[in-house]
Amino acid sequence: MSTLTEAPPPLAPAAPEKKPPRRRGRLTPYWLLLPGILWLVVFFALPMIYQASTSVQTGSLEEGYKVTWHFATYWDALSEYWPQFLRSVAYAASATVLCLLLGYPLAYLIAFRAGRWRNLIMILVIAPFFTSFLIRTLAWKTILADGGPVVGALNTLHVLDVTSWLGWTAGDRVLATPLAVVCGLTYNFLPFMILPLYTSLERIDGRLHEAAGDLYARPFTTFRKVTFPLSMPGVVSGTLLTFIPATGDYVNASLLGSADTGMIGNVIQSQFLRVLDYPTAAALSFILMAAILAMVTVYIRKSGTEDLV
C-alpha cells in the first residue's frame, strides 16, 4: 500500500464509473455487520457502561453500591497511585524501545535477507505463542535465577555494578528488579513488534533500493531516506501493539518484580480482588484508558504517517 501511495505507477485519468446493474440486497451489508455490532455491544459497550457506572458509585458489599456521581474517586485514585502510573508508562516505553531495537533488524533480515529461511525464522518468532504467557514468564525466573549462569556472567563482567548504580537492579541479582520486569515485557511483546514491521518492510519494492544505489546513495543513506520512511506504518502499529498492552500488564511485574516495581495493572487487580474497592478499580481503569488514548493520539499525530498498516 505504501508503494501505491508513495510511488504510484503512471495512470490514465479515471474512466467514468458504471453503475452496478443490480440494486437488490441493499440491506445485505447491514445484515453482515450485525454479528460484529452485537459482539461489540455485548462485550465492549455494555461492560464499558457498567464499568463507568461502577466508577462513580459508593457503598460497600454489605450496603450495596449505588450511583452517587462521586467523581472524587478519580482524583483520589490518581493522587494515590500516580507513581504506579508513571512506572507503568516508563516500563512499557522502555520495553517498546527495546522491542523496536531488537525487532527491526530481525524483521529486516526476514524481509530482505532470509531467502529460503524466511518461513523458518517466522515460525521461530511465533513459536513461543504456542505455550502459555504464564509459562513463558516463569521461564524467565529460571533464566535469571540468582545462582544461574546469566547472572553469574553479568556479575563477572561487572555489568550489574553499572545497572545497580542506575537503579535498574539491586545488588548482585536481576530477578525482583525493574530490569527483570522490563526484560519480561520486552520478551513477551516482541512478536507484536516484529510482525507489523515485517509486513511493512516486505511490501517495499526492491527496485527502490536499486534505484537509490543508482543515485549513489550509500546503504545507510538508502535505509535512512528510503527504507525507514516506507516502513513507518509498521513502526507505528508495532509500537502501538507493544506499548498499549505492556502498559496495562501486571503478570510480569508480579512474577518478575518486587514490592517497588508494582505497575498500575497490579493496583487495579488488587483493588478489585483484594481490597474490594470496586469504584477505585474502575476509576483507575478509566484513567489508564484515557491516558493511553491521549498518548497514542499525540504519538500518531507526531509520527507523520498516514497509514497504520
Binding site: V67, L273, D277
Partner: protein
C-alpha cells in the same frame, strides 16, 4: 503483496483501488482511527444509562437463602475444592475416599478443582451470590477469613446438626469455636494450615535463622527473604514476633506491624511477596528463608532435601480451609452427608495420609498409624500439645477493618 500488476487491470480499476486505500471506508488511517476512538469515548461518556447499574446490598436477596432441597431426588453433590487437596490413587485420576462415599450412599460427587486463590474465587462467585442466584456448587472450601466474610454477608446456609453427628463429635478442640463462626453453625474445617518459616540450608550457608526478626533484620539475608501475599499470615507472624497477640490486636498494633515490614521492603531486605509460587524460589535458593505453609514444606522436603522449616519461639499462625454450603445450593442434605463423612476417622486418616495438612479430626491417630506410621507421629499433621500451645489464630475483622487493612497491606506489597 505483489506490485498490483497494473497492466492486467484497467486504469479505472487501479484508480478505484487507489481511492479505496487512501480515502475509502476501508482505509485505516490515523485520522479514521482518531475519529473512531473519539466517537467511542463520546458514546460511552454521553450515556445516561450509568445510574441504572449498581450492586444490590448483601443479604437482601429475594426469596431467602435456601433453595428447594433436591437431595432426595437428585443423588449428587457438587464439590468445589483447591487443587491437590484430595487423595488420588496411583493412576492419578480417581479419588478413593470420594468413590467409597458414593459406594456407600449412592450419592455421586462432581468434584471440581476450580479454586486457586481466595480473592479470585470470591470475584468469581460474588456476582451470583449478590444477585441471590445458585452458584452451581453445593460445597466450597475457603480459607477462614473468606468463610467469615461470606457468613457476615449472609451468603451461606446454616448447617443442620442432625446431619452432622460425626463432625459434631470428632472436630478437634482447637477448631471448635472460631470467633467468626461460634459453635460451627455454618462451616466445618476441611484441613488446618500452619504458617511457619521455611529455609533452604544450602542458600543459608550457615547463617542462623530462628525468628521473624532474623528474616527482617539480618543484613546477610538482604534481598533473599520472602513474605506471603496473604495479609493475615505475613502480618500475623510479624505481630507474634513483636510480642502482640494476633487474636487481639488494635489498629495501632497493625500499623506498627506494617511499618516494621515497610522498613524491610524499603531497605531491600524483603525480595518479594508471593502466593504459592514461593516454593520454586525456595527450592532454587533465590529465597534463603521465607514464610511458608507447612503442608507445602512437608511435600517440598521429599523432593529437595535442602528445604526445611522451623517454628519460631514466638509461635505460629494457624488457619483453616472450611467447607461451606452457598445460598441456593440444590443439594444441601447431600452436601452435609459428605461433610460428615470426612469426619469419620477412616476417611479422614486416608485423606491426611495423602495431603499432609493439619487434620481437624479427633481420634484419627490410630487409623493414620495403620496407613503411615510417620505421618501419625508428625506434629504438622496431628499437632501435639506443645504445637497446639504455640498456635495462634488471626482474629476476625469487621468489614471496615478488612478494607482498611487490606488496602494498607496492598500498598506495602507494591500494588
Amino acid at each position: 503483496m505483489e506490485q498490483y500488476e497494473p497492466d492486467r487491470l484497467s486504469p479505472a480499476q487501479v484508480a478505484a483501488m487507489r481511492r479505496s486505500f487512501r480515502n475509502g471506508r476501508a482505509a485505516l488511517t490515523r485520522r479514521s482511527l482518531l475519529r473512531a476512538s473519539a466517537g467511542g469515548a463520546l458514546a460511552v461518556g454521553g450515556l445516561g444509562a450509568l445510574s441504572a447499574c449498581g450492586i444490590p446490598a448483601a443479604g437482601k436477596t429475594e426469596g431467602g437463602t435456601s433453595a428447594e432441597d433436591h437431595s432426595a431426588k437428585e443423588k449428587e453433590v457438587n464439590f468445589s475444592n483447591w487443587t491437590e487437596y484430595m487423595d488420588v490413587d496411583d493412576s492419578g485420576k480417581r479419588h478413593p475416599t470420594l468413590e467409597a462415599f458414593t459406594k456407600r450412599t449412592g450419592i455421586k460427587v462432581k468434584y471440581t478443582e476450580d479454586i486457586n486463590d481466595n480473592n479470585e474465587f470470591f470475584g468469581k462467585i460474588q456476582p451470583q451470590l449478590a444477585a441471590g442466584q445458585d452458584t452451581g456448587r453445593d460445597i466450597v472450601v475457603l480459607t477462614d477469613w473468606l468463610a467469615a466474610r461470606l457468613i457476615r454477608l449472609g451468603w451461606v446456609q446454616k448447617l443442620d446438626p442432625s446431619n452432622l453427628p460425626h463432625a459434631f463429635a470428632n472436630l478437634s478442640q482447637q477448631f471448635r469455636s472460631p470467633d467468626w463462626d461460634p459453635g460451627r453453625a455454618y462451616s466445618y474445617p476441611w484441613q488446618g494450615i500452619s504458617t511457619v518459616i521455611a529455609y533452604n540450608k544450602k542458600a543459608l550457608d550457615g547463617i542462623e535463622v530462628t525468628s521473624v526478626s532474623d528474616l527482617l533484620d539480618n543484613p546477610k539475608l538482604k534481598g533473599r527473604v520472602g513474605f506471603l501475599t496473604e495479609m493475615r499470615d505475613s502480618i500475623g507472624m510479624t505481630l507474634l514476633d513483636m510480642g502482640k497477640d494476633p487474636g487481639r490486636f488494635s489498629d495501632d498494633d497493625y500499623d506498627a506491624a506494617i511499618a516494621r515490614l515497610q522498613k524491610a521492603v524499603d531497605s531491600g531486605q524483603i525480595r518479594r511477596f508471593t502466593g504459592n509460587d514461593y516454593t520454586s524460589d525456595l527450592t532454587k535458593g533465590d529465597f534463603a528463608a521465607c514464610l511458608a505453609w507447612a503442608g507445602d514444606v512437608v511435600q517440598l522436603k521429599a523432593d529437595s532435601p535442602d528445604v526445611d522449616f522451623l517454628i519460631p519461639d514466638s509461635g505460629y499462625i494457624t488457619s483453616s480451609d472450611s467447607m461451606l454450603i452457598p445460598n441456593k445450593a440444590r443439594h444441601k442434605e447431600n452436601a452435609e452427608r459428605l461433610i460428615d463423612y470426612y469426619y469419620e476417622p477412616g476417611p479422614a486418616a486416608e485423606l491426611a495420609a495423602y495431603i499432609n495438612y493439619v487434620c481437624p479430626v479427633e481420634g484419627v491417630r490410630a487409623e493414620l498409624a495403620k496407613i503411615d506410621e510417620d505421618a501419625a507421629n508428625n506434629p504438622l499433621i496431628i499437632p501435639d500439645k506443645a504445637m497446639q500451645a504455640q498456635s495462634h489464630a488471626f482474629r476476625s475483622l469487621s468489614s471496615k477493618e478488612e478494607t482498611a487493612y487490606e488496602e494498607k497491606f496492598a500498598k506495602l506489597t507494591g500494588a
